[in-house]
Structure formats: C-alpha cells, structure tokens
C-alpha cells in the first residue's frame, strides 16, 4: 500500500508547481504588500482549469476528483497561501455546495462559470456572535410568497468581495424546529442584490492577498428557488461541506510546511556566517530535518483522508486529524523556517516571512484546533458536553 499519486495526479502536481514557481512567486509579494486580490493570477488559474478540478465535465469542470484539487492547493501553498486559499474557498466552499446540494437549475446557472474560475462563490456561515458554535447564527430568512427576505450579517467571508464574486451561500434561520432549536437553511444570494452590502477588506495579519469581508443583509430579497438543498438541512449541509474542506485546508497547511523546507534548504546552502554556509551546522540541519518530518506527515495525513473521501468511505475523523496536525505543523515550520532565515525571515519580502504570518489562521479557519479535538473525541465515543 502506498499514498503515492497516480501518474495523472503527479503530472497535475508538476503543472501547478511550474505555474506557482514561474508565475505566482515573482509577483505575489507585491500583491501581498498592497493587500490586493491577484485577479490576473486567478484568471490564469481559471484558464488552467484549477477551479473545475473536482467538478464533472457536464458542469464545465475537469472531471477530476477532490484529491486533484488538494494536490493543486498543496503546490500553490508551497509558494503562497493567499492564492491557495482563494482556490480552496472558491471550489470547496463556493462551488461544491451547489454541486452537492443544488437543483439541476442551480447547477446549470452557477457551476460552469464557477468551474471556469470566471466567477467566485462565497460561503457565509460565520457571524460576529457565531463562529465555532455555528448553529447559533442570527441571520434570518423569511419566506414571503415566493421570495426569501434576508436580514442579518456575516463575518470573515472569503472571496465575497472580489470583482468576480457572483454569489454567497448564506446560512440563515428560517424558523424553529419542533424541538425548539432553530431551523437553519442555506440560501444563494447573488452579488449585487439590493440590500446586500460588502464592507471593506479586513486588516488581516496574514493571507493579505486573499479577499475577506464582513457582509450585511438588509431586507435582501431573493427568489424562493434560491434555497440550496432542503429547507432545514442548512446546518447539516454546512457541516458536511466543512468536513471536506478540512482535507483541503490540511493540504494547504502541508504545502506551507513544505514551502518552509524548500526555502530553508536554499537559504541554508548559500547564507554564510563565521566563514561557512549555515547549512553545514548541525543545529540548522536538525531544524530542517524536523521540518521535513512534519511536512511529510502532514502530506500523508491529508492524502489518507482524501483517499477515503474519494473512495466513498467515512473520512471525518481522518479529515480532522489531518487538519489539526498539519495546521500545527505549518505553524511550527513557519516559526523554525523564519529562524533559519534570521532577520531576512522577518520581512515580507521573504517567502518565509509571509509563511509566518499566514500559518496562524490555519489553526482557526474551517474549525479551530479545539473544534477538531472535540470532533475527534466525539468520534471516539467520548460524551458530548
């Protein structure tokens, strides 16, 4: 048994590696510094078919699988996380819910452009008062005739305010269940719908070339047909979307962890101190060896989870393990790689300086590390608090 890639997935990996090296690496630092969304790169990724990787050909996709998507995300993240999260969120949070739960009409309306990367979709779950406790969303949607009227707000929504954002899937309370708990449904809100406002970009610690906004909904009216999946199934749908997304985030974290190794190897070979390359010192070598161990294990973990997912087996615990381990590995590697680079590593001109800032969110987004531990514990049969 091996977790090696098939010849086709390996070819894809090489293509994305080449793209990241030749087209992303030279320009991404400037976008990062300006806090600008790298639209030309995203368009190029669209032409390459990256946004359509796990989407069937009949919906305009590449007919590949989720593993292919993760391979691409990992390779991008070796060079830059903003560009990698743009792909991850665009596909796994923007397009996949419509593929998984959408009606044929919704799929026809949205998937071809999402798969081509001509349009991005956002996934609006988190609110100011509702993050890890995602079931407590306060945004409401009321059905008036054949129109949903939405009121509320969302926080930290990725890809929600770019020039090519076409929709945000919003989790909203649509009523109260017989047991008294809120009924939550998912509704597609097209960009530009009156009353749907996009606040200015957050001033983030990292992911500075990725697009994140707070969203407002004031009497936003969309057709009843914009309900995604079944009424009242919104929470379950969001949870299953997030379980898949965790594998992709783990791949992103593995890429960042590997990027730390790549950069440190190159720097340690050329940077001299006390008359020798620093890479000749055992202390530096051990740092790099430990980074490699973490990058390797991160990769094994996400590939195993992805293999289970693609095979249609249960994968939720493996996804949580991969996400938890690799995001912590990314943090550790970013800290150590910055150390290997000395003062240069503390500038955002250096890739590792950006890695250092970008790693932290991996322990927070799409389920914090604590949430992953909770999920793993529950999956092991430990009692729910």
């Amino acid at each position: 048994m091996t977790l090696a890639l098939s010849a086709e997935h390996e070819q894809l990996r090489k293509v994305v590696e080449e793209f990241a090296r030749d087209e992303v690496a030279p320009v991404i630092g400037d976008y990062y510094r300006r806090g600008e969304f790298p639209l030309p790169l995203v368009r190029r990724m669209g032409e390459m078919g990256l946004f359509g990787l796990p989407i069937p050909e009949e919906h305009g996709g590449m007919g590949g699988d989720y593993l292919a998507l993760c391979v691409a995300i990992e390779e991008l993240a070796r060079v830059d996380s903003s560009i990698a999260i743009t792909l991850e969120a665009g596909v796994s949070l923007g397009a996949m819910p419509i593929l998984r739960f959408g009606t044929p009409e919704q799929q026809q309306q949205w998937l071809p452009r999402l798969a081509a990367g001509e349009m991005l979709g956002g996934f609006g779950l988190t609110e100011a008062g509702s993050g890890s406790d995602a079931g407590s969303v306060r945004t409401t949607a009321v059905l008036e005739g054949d129109t949903w009227v939405i009121n509320g707000s969302k926080s930290f929504i990725t890809n929600s305010g770019t020039a090519i954002t076409g929709l945000v899937t919003v989790a909203a309370r649509t009523g109260t269940r017989p047991d008294g708990r809120p009924e939550i449904s998912a509704i597609i809100v097209p960009a530009g719908t009156p009353g749907f406002t996009v606040a200015k970009e957050y001033d983030k610690v990292g992911w500075n070339a990725s697009d994140t906004h707070e969203l407002g909904f004031a009497d936003v009216r969309v057709p009843a047909a914009n309900l995604l999946g079944e009424r009242g199934r919104g929470y379950a749908q969001f949870l299953s979307t997030l379980a898949e997304g965790r594998v992709a985030i783990a791949a992103l974290a593995a890429g960042l962890a590997q990027g730390c190794v790549d950069e440190s190897l190159a720097y340690a070979a050329t940077r001299e101190s006390f008359g020798r390359a620093i890479g000749t010192r055992q202390s530096i070598q051990f740092m790099i060896a430990d980074m490699q161990v973490r990058a390797h294990l991160s990769r094994l973990a996400w590939r195993q989870a992805a293999a289970l997912m693609v095979a249609g087996e249960p994968f939720a615990q493996e996804a949580s393990i991969a996400k938890l381990y690799s995001s912590e590995a990314a943090m550790d590697n970013a800290r150590v790689a910055t150390q290997v680079h000395g003062g240069y590593g503390f500038t955002i001109e250096s890739a590792v300086g950006r890695f250092y800032r970008d790693a932290k969110i991996l322990e927070i987004g799409e389920g914090t590390s604590e949430v992953q531990r909770m999920l793993i514990a529950r999956d092991l049969g430990l009692p729910v608090e």
Binding site: E8, Q11, L12, E47, M48, G49, M62, G63, G64, A68
Partner: protein, 267 residues
C-alpha cells in the same frame, strides 16, 4: 505547389526533453556527454511555444497535430505533456544507438521520422536550452528539401501558403513559402497553455508510436557518439567563484577601477 486542405492539414511539432534550466548540470565521466539521469527533465521551453503555435493553427483551421521527440525513454514524459496540452498523437524516436548524437545525426533521425509522417507543416522551437545551437531546424529542412522559415515571431497559414515574420537584427522580414514547409518559432510568439487536468486525462488515451533506428532506416554508424563530428575530449568543473577585488577609495579609486578594467581588457 501542393494543395493543402486545411481541414486535413498535418502539423508535426518537434519537441526535445532537456534538463530543467534551473538545475545544476553535469557531464557523465565515462563519455563527457550530458548526464540526463541526475537532473529533472522538462520540455525544452522554446518547444512549448512551438506546440502552442501548432495548437492555435489547428484550433483556427482544423487538421492534426503530431508531436515528435527523439530522446531516451523518459522523453515520453515530454511527449505526454504535449499531448496533455492538446496534440493528437505522439512519435517517440528512441534507440540506444542514438546516445551522443550531434546536431547532424539528430537532424537525420528527425528528418526520417518526419518523412514517414508526411507533414504539411513542421514546427520547431528556435533552439534548445541545453545545446543552444539553433541549427537542427535548418538541417532538417535541408534534408527534407523543405523551405525553411526560421526564427518566426508570427505564423499564418492560408490555403497552401505559410507566411511568417522572421526576426532579424533590425526588425523582421515577412517571409512566405508554399506548403509543405518548416518553421521555427522564437520565444514569446505566444503564451503557451498549461495542460489542464482534462487534457492530462485525455492524453492517456492518445496513441504514441515508438520508432527505433531500424524502423527509420537509419544505419547505426550514421548516428550516435561514434558518428559525431566533434567530441568533448576533456572537461573540467567550473572553478569556484574567486573573491572579488575591493578598491578602497582614498581619492584614487576611480583610477584604480579604470586600471583594473583595462587589465581585464573590458575598456
């Protein structure tokens, strides 16, 4: 002049696998030929423009694109890449007897393979990033008796005619020739596409024909290291970078620098 029906136009693109230009290259100690095994191999960058140009011509007016490569067995990766970009079929010329072939011998093997294909248009990149000779396209054209339109910065086919802009020191010449013809393209003639995953999957099902020297009707003595017109007699590793000279400016710095540059014959 041969009438070419654009619907059935056959374009043969020659591609070469070369060591990644980012990689440190070495010579094999046994025969001073390039060690192709110890480095990552990629499609010659200039040939990506050739493949892209062929695909654009095909998209504009139909026909078939066949990609031809001569090289060791791992050169199939480069053929696969061209097929993933969209070429229809591949031909791989591979034979132990070809090891160490110089440009003259390479042009012979390629010419024989192209002849067997019966191409209306042959497209090359203008040079390979490992040898940088730029002579193979011209040699192949000579061997096949084809008009050669080298160093093209644009290529247009109209009926039985190909017209190119040939890059010169002063600008470009507009050159025209009847098909069949041979073209070599310069860097930046277009923006080569990346293979999509759909293209990668589709490439799995595309045919790749493998040809040896016997299939081409080439005698072993005509190619390979033994037939090369030049041999690398000796090679030495590049000397390590010497420490630079530091001129401390005590008022006569300018003179010292000028003396240094003139001693090195720079000025």
């Amino acid at each position: 002049m041969r009438e070419v029906d654009s619907e059935t136009m056959k374009i043969v693109v020659c591609v070469k696998q070369v060591p990644d230009s980012w990689a440190e290259k070495t010579l094999r100690p046994s025969d001073n030929t390039l060690d192709r095994e110890s480095v990552d191999a990629v499609m010659n960058e200039l040939d990506e423009y050739a493949v892209e140009e062929a695909l654009r011509l095909q998209e504009a007016q139909g026909g078939e694109v066949v990609v031809l490569s001569m090289g060791p067995s791992q050169a199939t990766d480069t053929i696969r890449k061209a097929l993933s970009m969209g070429a229809d079929a591949g031909v791989h010329v591979v034979d132990d007897g070809l090891h160490g072939s110089d440009a003259v011998a390479t042009s012979l093997a390629l010419a024989k393979a192209i002849e067997a294909q019966g191409a209306d248009l042959v497209i090359f990149g203008s040079e390979s990033t490992d040898a940088r000779m730029s002579v193979v396209p011209a040699m192949v054209a000579e061997r096949l008796g084809l008009p050669q339109l080298t160093f093209s910065s644009s290529v247009a086919v109209d009926g039985g005619t190909v017209r190119t802009n040939r890059v010169t020191e002063y600008g470009y010449d507009v050159v025209e020739a009847p098909l069949p013809a041979l073209v070599s393209v310069v860097e930046k003639i277009n923006e080569p596409r990346y293979p999509s995953f759909k293209g990668i999957m589709a490439a799995k099902k595309k045919p790749v024909q493998t040809l040896g020297l016997a299939d081409l009707g080439v005698a072993a003595g005509e190619v390979g290291l033994g037939a090369a017109w030049s041999v690398v007699a000796e090679a030495a590793a590049r000397p390590p970078k010497a420490k630079g000279t530091i001129v401390a400016d005590d008022g006569s710095g300018g003179v010292a620098i000028a003396d240094y540059l003139s001693a090195q014959k720079f000025i």
